[in-house]
Amino acid sequence: MAHGFGCDQSMWRHMTTLLSADYQLITFDYAGFGASDVSDYDASRYENLRGYADDVIGLAEELDLRDFVFVGHSVSAMIGVLAVPQLGERLSALVLLCPSPRYIDDPGDETATPEGYRGGFTRADIDELLESLDGNYLGWSAAMAPVVMGRPDRPELDGELTELFCRVDPTVAARFARATFLSDNRADLAGVDVATLILQCRADVIAPSAVGDYVHAAIAGSRLVTLDATGHCPNLSAPEATAKAVDDFVHGLRRATAPVEPRPESRRTGDER
């Protein structure tokens, strides 16, 4: 289960509680997020989403995952899509939670609708977003100060923040945002040849339902489920509905494939980094 822009693996907290009885689950933090070592972060690797996809592939290979289901939230959905060709036989299915292959409108793309592709944002919107992130003040918060200050030698400064969730280094966040919001992976959707579930929220400004429809149309044989939830993080705001949708989907896959010797897991547990 891969987190998207804005948080770290603590996003999956509720889903983990709901699903851990029946599945082995792996959650992780991308480089620069959560508890990962920011000094390992290599900016050039993550200029676009490809670097993150490589990390996912690397993770799958290192853990020798087989027949696993990749659940990607937000931009991680596209990261999963990019990783599909190289994951090959290891991957049995994809769950795309609030995906968007491109956030900026493209009036010239008539394959979507006659008015073109609606990503939900104009270029000016994204420029403003990136500029505000670069300015490093958006979300500048006392709660994030220890991460920003980077003073492991002064642990007393962390204080009550040891239980901080969603820690993100602002520089890393800015680059991730750039890689995310300037991405265009519409062409990669056609390359998805595994069973795919698309989950979208009823009202999501980041990944509007038209975008979910687009992804559904672009991935042959995919299933689309609209959750009765507002916002972009149903894994947090509507975890039961989300977990159920995922569960139903995976069971449907099991029924469809030939019976194999019983295995308790299709995903393995672990907390990376």
Partner: protein, 534 residues
């Protein structure tokens, strides 16, 4: 004392901060007057509409991706920096605290936010960030300059400097192309070195009468930035080159040496690049470093040229053209930077039938020894050409050596060959013996041995005679040819004798030095090889 009950309504509506409450689907359920006043809106425009409508795009994305998840996980957030959008589109920087009030039987979950106007604080933060960024950039620039200075220190001549400067274009300013131009003696601008561009070899010098951006930068001494559009208009040839190299802009940075513009460093950029004040300062500093390094290199080169000229002057002689003998001579300096030393050779006529051959070695090395060497060489020539025999030449050189600083304890071997008869007279003052190859056998001529110059022995200087026959080869040399560190000199002498004795093809002085004193020897080496064929 006047204790009274504050009106709750007034406390809420007129608080010094903004209050707004919204529910899970983002709908605002309550907002206070203060906030409405900041936004310039009426209550009905805000209540019932999404809270996120009050934020700018970045804020909305941030709310959905960061704030909302954080609230879901922690139940509260503190001091989040956001921007509210007023009815007139104006932006209000704020700090926001939000707490989630769990659902009760009478109402759903509601998020309650306190909003503080952070305009001043934001301005302060911006200044801090800008100052920090500037400090970081200064640090980076300092590191870059230090690295360049290190590279320049290690570069010994202007060619090496030019390469260092051009190669550093990318590291110092992130340029894709770097070209160093230097003003030549003809006052034209010549390309000295380049990096990042395959067509560099086609660059031609720029004369002062040409029209070019380079010259313009040189005229007023200021950095000149030329974008492609301007190049298209004013410098078509350069525009063509820029197009082929895919350059978006070119910067020309002149630098001075001794008060005059000595050259230009030209940088080419493929991407849009903006110059900050710091960049100008950095470029200027780079130019200064380059100029200083070139100054140093020029001085060094002059010194080396002087030394080299001197040496060649000191060892110059008119080649002898006589069918009765063939000879070759060579000098190779020690590997120290100054290729000048105390060794010398000389071959000159005394009269049409008589030739003198001399080798010598002054104490010490470098320029001082070379100066003394020149004097000794001239003195020896003068004495031999005046008719003195080898022994007498040495005797007179003794006097000369006593009165010439640095000549004391020099060694010298003087030989005079009478060409019609083959009669060789020679005298040796502390020098290694000459080698004679006669019919394939090499022996050292051990006669005529005398102490070093300047020691004024009692009595006349010893002199010996030997008669050469046709085909004989005589080798005179200095100790660099036979001495090796850690080895007794006899080994070197044996080696020389073997090489000369066993040689099948004619030997030359150069090849002898090449094989016996290979590159890397610390001492000077001199050799003369003479073949007698009357």
């Amino acid at each position: 004392m006047n204790v009274f009950e504050e009106s709750i309504d007034e406390l809420y509506e007129m608080a010094p901060c903004g209050y707004v409450s919204y529910v899970s689907d983002r709908t605002v359920v309550k907002v206070n007057q203060t906030l409405l006043g900041w936004l310039g809106r009426a209550a009905h425009e805000v209540v019932g509409r999404p809270f996120t409508d009050l934020l700018n795009t970045g804020g909305r994305v941030y709310f959905e991706t960061h704030l909302d998840p954080l609230l879901a996980l922690e139940g509260h957030v503190r001091e989040i920096a956001l921007e509210l959008v007023g009815v007139d589109g104006s932006r209000l920087p704020v700090l926001v605290n939000i707490v989630a009030a769990p659902a009760t039987p009478t109402r759903p979950l509601v998020y309650r936010a306190t909003v503080l106007d952070a305009t001043d604080r934001r301005a302060y933060e911006r200044e801090l960030l800008a100052a920090r960024r500037q400090a970081e950039r200064r640090g980076e620039r300092l590191a870059v300059l230090q690295q360049l200075a290190g590279g320049l220190c290690a570069a010994l001549d202007s060619h090496a400097i030019a390469n260092v400067v051009a190669d550093a274009a990318k590291a110092t300013v992130g340029a894709d192309v770097g070209i160093l131009w230097l003003v030549g003696p003809d006052d034209a601008l010549h390309p000295a070195s380049s990096t990042g561009w395959s067509e560099a070899a086609t660059l031609k010098p720029i004369a002062r009468t040409d029209v070019s951006a380079h010259l313009e930068a040189m005229t007023d001494g200021n950095i000149r930035v030329v974008h492609r559009a301007e190049a298209d208009r004013s410098y078509p040839e350069m525009a063509g080159r820029m197009r082929r190299a895919q350059l978006h802009s070119a910067w020309f940075v002149p630098f001075r040496r001794g008060g005059q513009i000595a050259g230009i460093v030209a940088y080419g950029f493929r991407d849009q690049t903006d110059l900050a004040d710091d960049d100008f300062a950095l470029l200027g500093a780079l130019g200064d470093h380059t100029a200083a390094a070139l100054e140093r290199a020029a001085y060094f080169e002059t010194q080396r040229d002087i030394a080299s000229t001197l040496q060649h002057g000191l060892l110059a002689h008119t080649p002898l053209d006589d069918p009765r003998l063939t000879y070759s001579a060579a000098y190779v300096g020690g590997h120290r930077e100054m290729a000048v030393g105390g060794d010398w050779y000389d071959v000159f006529p005394i009269d049409p039938d008589c030739v003198a051959i001399v080798v010598g070695d002054v104490v010490g090395g470098g320029l001082p020894a070379a100066v003394v060497m020149g004097q000794l060489r001239s003195a020896t020539r003068a004495l031999a050409q005046a008719g003195f025999g080898p022994g007498d030449v040495l005797a007179h050189l003794d006097t000369f050596a006593v009165h010439t600083p640095g000549a004391f304890c020099a060694t010298v071997l003087v030989a005079v060959l009478d060409l019609p008869t083959g009669r060789l007279r020679y005298a040796c003052a502390g020098h290694l013996p000459a080698l004679l190859r006669h019919r394939g056998v090499a022996v050292y001529l051990g006669g005529g041995r005398n102490p070093l110059l300047g020691l004024h022995p009692a009595g006349p200087r010893a002199q010996t005679e030997h008669t050469l026959t046709s085909g004989d080869v005589l080798v005179l040399y200095t100790d660099g040819l036979v001495e090796r560190r850690g080895e007794p000199i006899d080994l070197g002498l044996d080696r020389l004798a073997e090489t000369v004795g066993g040689a099948v093809e004619p030997i030359t002085a150069g090849s002898l030095i090449e094989s016996l004193a290979p590159h890397g020897a610390e001492d000077d080496t001199c050799a003369v090889v003479l073949a007698y064929r009357p």
